[in-house]
Symmetry: C2
Subunit: 389 residues, 2 copies
Amino acid sequence: MGRLTGGDPSLLRRINSAVVLHALRAAEAPTLTDLVNVTGLSRPTVEGVVEGLMDTGLVVEAAVDENAARRQGRPARRFRFRVEAGHLLGIEIGPHRIAALLADLGGRVRGSAHVEVSETASADERLDQVRVAVADLLKRSGVARASLRAVGVASPGIVEADGTIRLGTALPQWTGLPLGERLRRSFRCPVLVENDANAAAVAEHWKGAAVGSDDMVFVLAGLSPGAGSLIGGRLHRGFGGAAGEIGALHLLGREATPEEVLSTTGEPLHPLDEAQVARVFTLAGQGDAGARAAVERYLRRLVHDVAALVLALDPELVVVGGWAAGPAGVLEPLRRELARYCLRPPRVEQSLLGEAAVATGALRLALDHVEEQLFAVEGTVTARRRSGV
Amino acid sequence: MGRLTGGDPSLLRRINSAVVLHALRAAEAPTLTDLVNVTGLSRPTVEGVVEGLMDTGLVVEAAVDENAARRQGRPARRFRFRVEAGHLLGIEIGPHRIAALLADLGGRVRGSAHVEVSETASADERLDQVRVAVADLLKRSGVARASLRAVGVASPGIVEADGTIRLGTALPQWTGLPLGERLRRSFRCPVLVENDANAAAVAEHWKGAAVGSDDMVFVLAGLSPGAGSLIGGRLHRGFGGAAGEIGALHLLGREATPEEVLSTTGEPLHPLDEAQVARVFTLAGQGDAGARAAVERYLRRLVHDVAALVLALDPELVVVGGWAAGPAGVLEPLRRELARYCLRPPRVEQSLLGEAAVATGALRLALDHVEEQLFAVEGTVTARRRSGV
């Protein structure tokens, strides 16, 4: 039982620490008086908390402005949150490439790395490439591995709570892979594993097309479309982590697979051959009748899948990313059809983050984890943060 | 900014009141000492709060057990939450009937009323019938109208936050009806309006087939199926209140309407003619080939709609209610097909509340509203309640 108002001084201290730390992060080098005013805590309490935070290395005294010092005599001490006190990684593991982003505790990106990888690479080979990319990134950025506080990893597939891939057909040997466990051997900080479309949804909400839209769906439009959704600003993973895995929907109608639908020859496309897919879209854009028919079939499928998501969830916004979201014009047909069939059609926008969406989302999830550790006290402070404290 | 730990003694008092009231409701006539032990508050604080609650009429001293009194000399005073201090109504407004449930502040049902109504009744006629049913119910139960603290109302349609029906094709003159505003004239307490399938989802979670399942979908299987869903134990309404309105999904495939699908004559059924629908299901059960084919077509449609919901949301449990959930055996085909197409198929159960589900859910929503007013303090206490305080 969480006792808030009586009996547990250590809980109260933790709440006070979180409140002060939050105020420190939000302000520009505040003084003790600033912190007292913002938090409503007493001066001795704020002093005690700031001293404790300085001991942990998360807070330092800010450099004094010399001019101000000369004008005012001895100035009040100022403090700042040390965003450089720790670092985070966001990693995308995809069929063709591995991407990694490095950021400080303020979420600012300090560096990035990309590695091409074969779609037929084994799980071991793929994880080796992850390690190579990370080592290179840390070295180039001058950041010590020990400085990492959390690592977010996003990849296709249904992800269990412990970071195991329950089902992942897009990458060889991916189903059943204990991805979180395997990567934890390379890092001494928490490793969080997430589905790629889920991560992209988080990223577009953080700094993409969905800023300010707390109820949104991100559609990763590919041959097997996946989706991630935020409800009330929070990622909706579903009971078993499979929410948004709409790829199976067309099977119910006994329809053809996307690889067959997009084919202009009668031979199905290879599921991961993006160049071949791009060719079909390009030909369609040039007026080729067969390619146009194939793209039409594909769009009808995509509209159906997205409509199912929209009818089930009723989001404010649908963001479309992935290779099919490009120049071939997925947006207009989607808007038109959703307006016909949805009682309250959502806005439809293209991804702003493009290729960076998945790794950026993985980074944000790592940052969320660290912030929860810094700020959360049994749900109480989380609730207050949501209400704007 | 919510200040929890400093500066706002009135907030602290409200938190303490909520904590004590919650403990009073959970225990069987506790003593002051019991309350001190359970809440972790000081004795003077608990005494002050209990006195305040007695002033408002929500708490009274419990009757003393005479035998215990004789044995122990002067016994400690005991207190109890007065569930009879206020009442709630849950009302279903459907195409064919109006149902109302009356409960006390503990959520215990004290009485019920049902009125048959024509599917062609105007909105005014339908609302008159609601007033008749409520007046009759209050009179029979000996409860004064002034004792009502909240009224929950559930009906088909998309409901705006202010209780207006944005779209409701199942009842005449329903689209655009300011249902909440119209009913507020009859009551001096808050009137909450909710979609019928949403209310049924809440009801099955409260005391039906979904007790303990916080991630569930309720499917109201009718000619135009609707659905309500809980995510993490909370109703998911969607950005515009249209979540779960899956009736339009089949239009995307340019398929026939359910009324055509279920027809054995080529003539579409009347959308609200439940007797005619029941006849088709009965004939199918007796082996009639035409009726069986019609039911097969209908089930295929239903499975598709439910699968779309399941793929989008990934619930733990699907509860099926409404007239099509009866003996015709919707459950087995649904289980079979979902297992084929969902990566992680949910459990599928029949509604336990049957016809009472919608009114029961409306009642629960009224109770939720009152409990929020009694207990919630800027989200803080809600967070604690969820964590089991």
